[in-house]
């Protein structure tokens, strides 16, 4: 690689670092996007300009195709972001896998000398990570998209984890064999075996995981995709690939850790716990009585309050209720009520889910308060309005050692003077457990779809408020 290319890659590296650095506040975040785009353009330009690139037709076609598919993919509704992310990991994994495969066969036929041990190790790692990320992420995307022929609930069978690990072990063994003698006559025939094993492993890794655990799994797949890019960098002796891949991997890892912490679960438990099952098991035990509240009553209490804390959850996303919530926020503000939003780190189904939805509804992010910041103020809160949240406000996380969410930090809705909870039914949330909060004497339920209920409240208020 000549100096110009080297320099361009160095500049691209620096720009990528800034791109992520600027994500540390919404004020600079968009600058980050531009930095990222600039870096990518520079990297592509520098690579394309290299002498060994002689055929341009296919490159142009592939790039155009990328735009044709990419642009629509970027217009999916926010609720579809998790599956879009998974899909993109699948693409990333596929790309890494293919490049690794291509390079191997290329060197096998044209430059066996290039297949040093170090490089073979890198290639094997690249293709195993790449292809398992490919199938794994596809399946994850399918589950999130709730594609009919993909089972939502965890599929489990005896000795499952053993089988999976066994499979991986075989792949590794074959890989070692290839690494030791990459140029043997039988090598090119054995290579595809590793690919198939990786593809299969990806599927088996995901099927035992419940749909609701997917966000965590996606983050983990994200770091796999990053690592496969790093491996590609080792194969191609390219530092830009290594740095970008490492940044990518770090991001996936940290998001996964944050989610696990906030759910008080361990990686292993997520990966091998077949957690979603609990859902089926525990559902639908409700002997206790719910106190219901009417829209009129609710609206009245709300407008008399000084401080209202709205606690959104997955239900708000499902119901797409954020815009109605914004109207409610406006109505109350107009009456001089202080309205804050309490955002739990794992409310919804992906990190930052609630923040994007509320931002989409034009709610200033300065009114979105993190769990740790709002909890101390909850006792002063007159009304806690729970909009389709459940686990993240479930007090049993504090007390009940037996509860599956025991130890998960929650938003202290139960410490507010009054609690209104909006949900459609008496069904539990993601964790599949009852919620003491709904039976507390301070709590009144507003049953119904979040969008409708909030809409009704707004009508009430605007009706009464407009004089």
């Amino acid at each position: 690689m000549n100096a110009v290319v080297q320099l361009s890659y160095l500049i691209a590296t620096v720009l990528f670092i800034f791109a992520l650095h600027w994500m540390n506040t919404p004020m600079t975040a968009r600058k980050g996007v531009y930095a990222g785009v600039a870096a990518m353009v520079i990297a592509i330009g520098a690579t394309w300009a290299q002498p060994e690139v002689v055929h341009h037709g296919w490159i142009i076609v592939a790039i155009i195709a990328g735009f044709v598919v990419g642009v629509p993919l970027s217009m999916v509704p926010l609720t579809a972001v998790p599956q879009r992310t998974a899909l993109s990991h699948a693409f990333g994994g596929l790309a890494a896998g293919l490049v690794g495969t291509a390079k191997y066969y290329l060197w096998y036929s044209e430059g066996p000398g290039e297949l040093t041990t170090f490089r073979m190790v890198a290639i094997i790692v690249e293709i195993i990570l790449g292809y398992l990320t490919f199938t794994g992420s596809l399946l994850a995307a399918g589950k999130l998209q709730e594609v009919k022929w993909i089972p939502q609930r965890p599929v489990t069978y005896p000795l499952q984890n053993l089988t999976n690990l066994g499979l991986l072990a075989i792949a590794v063994v074959v890989g070692v064999a290839l690494t030791v003698n990459p140029t043997a006559a039988w090598a090119p025939a054995l290579f595809p075996v590793v690919i198939l094993l990786a593809l299969a492993f990806g599927v088996l890794l995901i099927i035992p995981i419940g749909g609701a655990d997917m966000p965590t799994v996606i983050a983990i797949l994200n770091s796999y995709a990053g690592l496969s890019a790093v491996a590609m960098g080792f194969v191609l002796d390219n530092k830009l690939l290594i740095t970008a891949g490492a940044l990518d991997g770090a991001s996936g890892l940290i998001l996964a850790i944050i989610m696990c912490k906030a759910m008080n679960r361990s990686f292993l438990n997520v990966l091998f716990g077949a957690f979603g099952q609990a859902q089926q098991a525990k559902t639908g035990g409700d002997q206790k009585i719910y106190k219901e509240e009417t829209i009129e009553g609710g609206a009245q209490v709300l407008e008399q309050a000084n401080l209202v804390v709205i606690i959104p959850g997955y239900g708000m996303a499902v119901a797409q209720a954020q815009h109605k919530v914004r109207e409610l926020y406006d109505q109350l503000k107009r009456r001089g009520v202080t309205v804050k939003f309490a955002i739990h780190p794992v409310a919804g189904r992906m990190p930052g889910h609630m923040n994007v939805l509320l931002a989409e509804a034009d709610i200033p992010y300065t009114d979105l308060v993190e769990m740790d910041e709002i909890n101390p103020d909850m006792p002063q809160c007159d009304v806690a309005l729970v909009v389709g949240a459940n686990d993240v406000v479930n007090p049993s996380a504090r007390s009940e050692k037996t509860s599956p969410i025991y130890g998960m930090p929650i938003i202290d809705a139960d410490r507010a003077k009054t609690v209104f909870a909006i949900k459609r039914s008496k069904n539990p949330g993601f964790a599949g457990i009852d919620n003491e909060l709904y039976f507390s004497e301070r709590t009144w339920m507003l049953f119904g779809d979040a969008k409708n209920v909030v809409g009704e409240l707004v009508k009430q208020l605007s009706g009464s408020g407009m004089h």
Partner: protein, 104 residues
């Protein structure tokens, strides 16, 4: 020899990059975790530079086809990743009091 040294530099670069990654990502605002996911998708499209070489090189067709598919996949990530990130970030408003962001 020179080769082994070279691999060591790659390893060095990886370790340092990992440190930077962890340091930078840990300080990303919680508000922006969803956009963060999508911008890293875009960045992972960097595999494009590997694919271009394979696609455009003077190699057997089979190889180049693999390259072209990889190139297409990476481009898709780049395009959709950056576009959707920007689309999301456009939504974040301060109510014109940018100084008051508590979480940045």
């Amino acid at each position: 020899m020179s080769e082994s040294i070279d691999y060591w530099s790659l390893l060095y670069v990886f370790v340092l990059a990992a440190f930077i990654g962890l340091g930078v990502i840990r300080r990303v605002s919680r508000l922006l975790h969803t956009p963060l996911m999508s911008i890293t998708n875009a960045i992972s499209g960097i595999a494009v530079i590997g694919s271009i070489i394979v696609t455009g090189g003077d190699y057997p067709t089979g190889i180049r086809i693999m390259g072209a598919i990889a190139l297409f996949a990476s481009m898709t990530n780049i395009v959709s990743g950056f576009l959707i990130t920007d689309r999301m970030l456009k939504m974040f408003k301060t109510d014109r009091q940018p100084k008051q962001d508590k979480r940045s």
